[in-house]
Symmetry: C2
DNA sequence: CTTGACAAACCGTCCAGACGGTATCTTTAT
DNA sequence: ATAAAGATACCGTCTGGACGGTTTGTCAAG
């Protein structure tokens, strides 16, 4: 125990571990449980070690946000690759990813975190930027009111999953997905 | 300064003031700024005074939640009163209220708060209960997949307002409202 | 004179971050 | 090839402040 000092150094591994632990903590005990002490301890690192990787708490949350967005982007890109209709392609990918999120193993882990992130003004701004960027990138194919509507609905469903406020059976779920995808085409 | 002691006693007024201040603080500086010290001070009351009205912090947040839901309910009821088509009536009211929320003077004040409330497990559960209750109450008229979809979209728009992530001009806004209301009818 | 509506001082805990150190890794000079 | 010279990756401790909550006291109204 005493000499975690002497173990092999693996900065990238530790960094990743810290992010994972932070995500897990927020999931299991709410964002309030994400303290430097708790995260570092659960990651098997001292607080000093944590602060070496992330100079302050906001940096840690930023790191979490980066990871989150990166996964989201990857999932969207993947979904877009299997779709050869131009019109509304981004919207359909967005739909797919949002609706699938609650099922995905890791998705579950990120959700509670997400809402907390969005309460933080700084991260809220970063998210706004993400949206603006995508809106510009896919203006040609996905700026119609119908696409917008579909994406809003996806957000609503995502929110419902997050809050566990509605119990959606797989059947209505896929019905909604169908309906929304249709919207993205017309 | 010293003699806030001697001012006229007006418990109901003070209680209200505390709630308003808490809402305003959360709006302007995030939920992190809602501390007993900050709220009481900004409301011109001592911390002891605050804790007289709300025995602990959770009670304060609960009070906030009650207020929020009460206003929401009143607005919905009002909107339903002016609608004499049975089918989807609740959904249309829900739409109207959600989409109008960002315009309303006080609505603005409650939004940031809301998301923070939903991060709190206890309040999240209370919200879940609200949803379940309404779902049961309006099962006859508003349980179709289309109504569900419309409400999800409303949630998405509400979320976008909250995060200021999309800039919706009044035109598309009313277009979406129209479209969604139509959905609630078919 | 009792009760409700506050005030003011205080307490224990938690937490972000600073700091000074130590061990391991990498590069460079020889 | 190797040893010195940093650079990087950590550890352990400390501190100052914030925060939720308690306690005790004070005033006013009924």
């Amino acid at each position: 125990m005493s000499n975690a000092y002497h173990r092999k150094k693996q900065p990238e591994r530790v960094r990743q571990q810290l992010l994972e632990v932070a995500a897990r903590l927020s999931l299991e005990q709410g964002i309030g449980a994400v303290t430097l002490d708790a995260v570092s301890q659960a990651a098997g690192v001292s607080k000093g070690g944590l602060l070496h990787h992330f100079p302050n708490k906001l940096a840690l949350l930023d790191g979490l946000f980066d990871e989150l967005v990166a996964r989201f982007d990857r999932a969207i890109e993947e979904a877009m690759a299997g779709d050869n209709v131009e019109r509304g392609r981004f919207t359909r990918a967005y739909l797919t990813v949002c609706l699938a999120l609650e099922a995905k193993a890791d998705g579950k882990g990120w959700q509670v975190l997400t809402i907390a992130l969005l309460a933080e003004p700084h991260l809220k701004a970063r998210w706004r930027e993400w949206v603006a960027q995508r809106a510009a990138e896919f203006a040609e194919t996905d700026s119609s009111a119908n696409c917008l509507l579909a994406r809003f609905a996806a957000d609503g469903i995502w929110l419902a999953d997050l809050l566990e406020s509605h119990e959606l059976d797989a059947q209505t779920r896929s019905f909604l997905l169908q309906k929304l995808k249709a919207l993205s085409l017309q």
